[in-house]
């Protein structure tokens, strides 16, 4: 897929909960085709402590209005700076990067998101729904403060929630959710995004099942386009770049999973 470097204008920004920011960005050019699971490398403006671009998933795309949105957890200097942007500020994106999710042949789909890794799931649910799929969606988090936009997800599928402190939905870790009850588990495909520990736990949980598990990885990146080889993950066929061959992988291919 052809990649672009475009300037976007911040048209809306809000700070849901205490450490997230959601940005709506208007592209200065017509948006190119973007697939769910793809990401952008963002140039962080005016921040002396940040040198490299930062990879952030495309959270949703609104082709009619030529906008995209980002869902960012504030974890360091770069993401903090993103949370400080004001409406009308400009942001430079290198995108769309990576392979994104492949659509399956059947409709027994579960999307699982944990913590901030949830970012690409909204666009995935949105895309699946546009193609007449009916995914179920499970979002897990530490507490209610970290779960946002539930109304958005509900547009595209049944939404299940779980929090570690029980403040929203069931109580426990994602893999404790009743959806994973052995005798009732009905999904053929699971798409999961979130912290690596959670992804591994989900994958372990489904080892005995006839289910394919796809995960979106978040290795640190320098270039985002396959040039630097920083972002590799060990697969059954050797080191492969998360930026160009991922970020989405079938866990069958991942060595040591």
């Amino acid at each position: 897929m052809k990649k672009f470097i475009h300037d976007f204008k911040v048209i809306k920004k809000w700070l849901p909960g205490s450490n997230h920011v959601i940005l709506h960005l208007l592209c200065s050019e017509p948006l190119p085709p973007i697939k769910a699971g793809q990401f952008a490398e963002i140039l962080i403006p005016d921040e002396p402590e940040v040198f490299l671009r930062r990879p952030i998933s495309i959270h949703d795309v609104d082709t009619k209005n030529n906008t995209i949105s980002l869902f960012v957890k504030i974890v360091g200097k770069g993401t903090y700076k993103l949370s400080e942007l004001r409406v009308d500020d400009t942001l430079n994106l290198l995108y769309p990067l990576g392979q994104g999710f492949e659509f399956p042949e059947h409709d027994k789909i579960l999307l699982v998101g944990g913590g901030c890794g949830v970012a690409p799931l909204l666009f995935l649910a949105h895309s699946l729904s546009q193609h007449n799929y009916h995914p179920d969606i499970l979002i897990g988090s530490r507490n209610a403060d970290e779960i946002h936009e539930t109304g958005e997800y509900e547009k595209y599928g049944n939404l299940y929630l779980i929090t570690e402190d029980g403040s929203l939905g069931e109580k426990g870790l994602v893999t404790h959710h009743s959806i994973f009850k052995t005798d009732e588990f009905k999904y053929k495909i699971v798409y999961a995004c979130g912290p690596e520990g959670m992804l591994k736990a989900v994958n372990q949980k489904l080892k005995g099942f006839d289910t394919e598990v796809f995960v979106s990885l978040e290795n640190t990146m320098a270039c985002g386009i396959g040039a630097c080889l920083s972002c590799v993950v060990k697969t059954t066929t050797g080191n492969r770049c998360v930026c160009t061959e991922g970020p989405v992988f079938n866990t069958k291919e991942l060595a040591g999973w």
């Binding site: 052809k2 990649k3 672009f4 470097i5 140039l43 402590e49 940040v50 040198f51 490299l52 671009r53 290198l94 290795n219 640190t220 990146m221 320098a222 270039c223 985002g224 386009i225 396959g226 040039a227 630097c228 080889l229 920083s230 972002c231 590799v232 993950v233 060990k234 050797g238 080191n239 160009t244």
Partner: protein
């Protein structure tokens, strides 16, 4: 129209702007952003005798105005390169130069010998300066005797333009530059990365799986510029300047310091189209300063 062409021994470049090995892939990664026909040349990834997986992840750390890498020469080996990659890149409308690496003199020699057969590859860059492999690599570049030994062996089998890429992690870069010149190098490129380290204090662990790695980017530019200046005073063969170059003004600094051409590395990651801006910026500089040929900038630093 200004004359931007330069020559490195028998290698003709349409302009002095090349891309640095390991930062530009095989070139196709950048095709959406760079018109390859407007580049002086591209130096593709390190190629070794056989397949290498490189070092474990994490291999990269951000530092103030720079980055550390510990890729460790991941590549599929020279035979795969010849069979699967060369056909795809041999018709690129620019000079394609292969960065040759190894762990033993024999490995360098055998890779160079094989690349020598590739008609469309006009030059190799001998990487005796990679800090990211346990055996060989940088070790060759940090002693004059071993730098000379590799150069000598490769010179015997490689008939086209032979560029030797030096390590900055040495007491006297000039001594090593002269050493490889004596062994028949046609050009010298410098610098490769400075050996550095980063620590995650919250985890109390090194950021890189290899503990140390190679520092690149604007942070190293002053050191690179100094070494280019020192070396170009003392050797007769053309020098290629590398290290932190991020814009036309940086590139011109290196030309003034004595480099006949330059390579852009880490800056490609921040702006994949940066090389195009550098070419345009050099042309603009020549216009503004009423200089006809970029060759007139080479070594034109006024130290009076």
């Amino acid at each position: 129209m200004k004359d931007l062409s330069v020559k490195l021994h028998s290698l003709e470049l349409r302009n002095p702007v090349m891309t640095a090995s390991g930062t530009f892939g095989y070139g196709w990664e950048y095709e959406d952003f760079v018109d390859l026909s407007k580049l002086g040349g591209i130096v593709v990834k390190a190629t070794t005798g056989s397949h290498r997986e490189g070092n474990p992840y994490p291999r990269m750390a951000e530092t103030p105005h720079g980055m550390l890498n510990a890729i460790g020469l991941q590549n599929k080996g020279v035979d795969y390169f010849i069979k699967a990659i060369y056909p795809a890149i041999s018709d690129f409308p620019t000079n394609v130069i292969v960065n040759v690496s190894g762990s033993t003199v024999e490995e360098y020699e055998s890779v160079a010998e094989k690349i020598n057969e590739l008609e469309k590859i006009p030059a190799i860059e001998l990487n005796i300066s990679c800090p990211n492999v346990k055996e060989g690599g940088m070790a060759f570049g940090t002693s004059c005797a071993s730098a000379q030994a590799v150069t000598r062996a490769v010179r015997k089998v490689y008939k086209k333009t032979l560029i030797v890429k030096l390590s900055p992690n040495v007491t006297s870069i000039v001594e090593i530059a002269k050493g490889v010149e004596d062994e028949g190098a046609d050009s010298i490129s410098l610098i490769n990365t400075l050996l550095g380290m980063a620590i995650d204090v919250e985890k109390r662990k090194p950021v890189l799986s290899t503990i140390t790695g190679g520092l690149s980017g604007p942070a190293i530019k002053p050191v690179a510029l100094r070494m280019v200046w020192q070396v170009s005073q003392e050797v007769k063969i053309p020098v290629i300047g590398i290290g932190g170059i991020s814009n036309a003004s940086d590139a011109i600094s290196f030309l003034l310091a004595g480099a006949s051409a330059i390579q852009v590395g880490t800056a490609n990651f921040i702006d994949p189209s940066v090389t195009m801006k550098i070419v345009a910026g050099i042309e603009d500089y020549l216009e503004r300063h009423r200089i006809d040929s970029v060759k007139d900038l080479v070594g034109a630093l006024d130290v009076s």
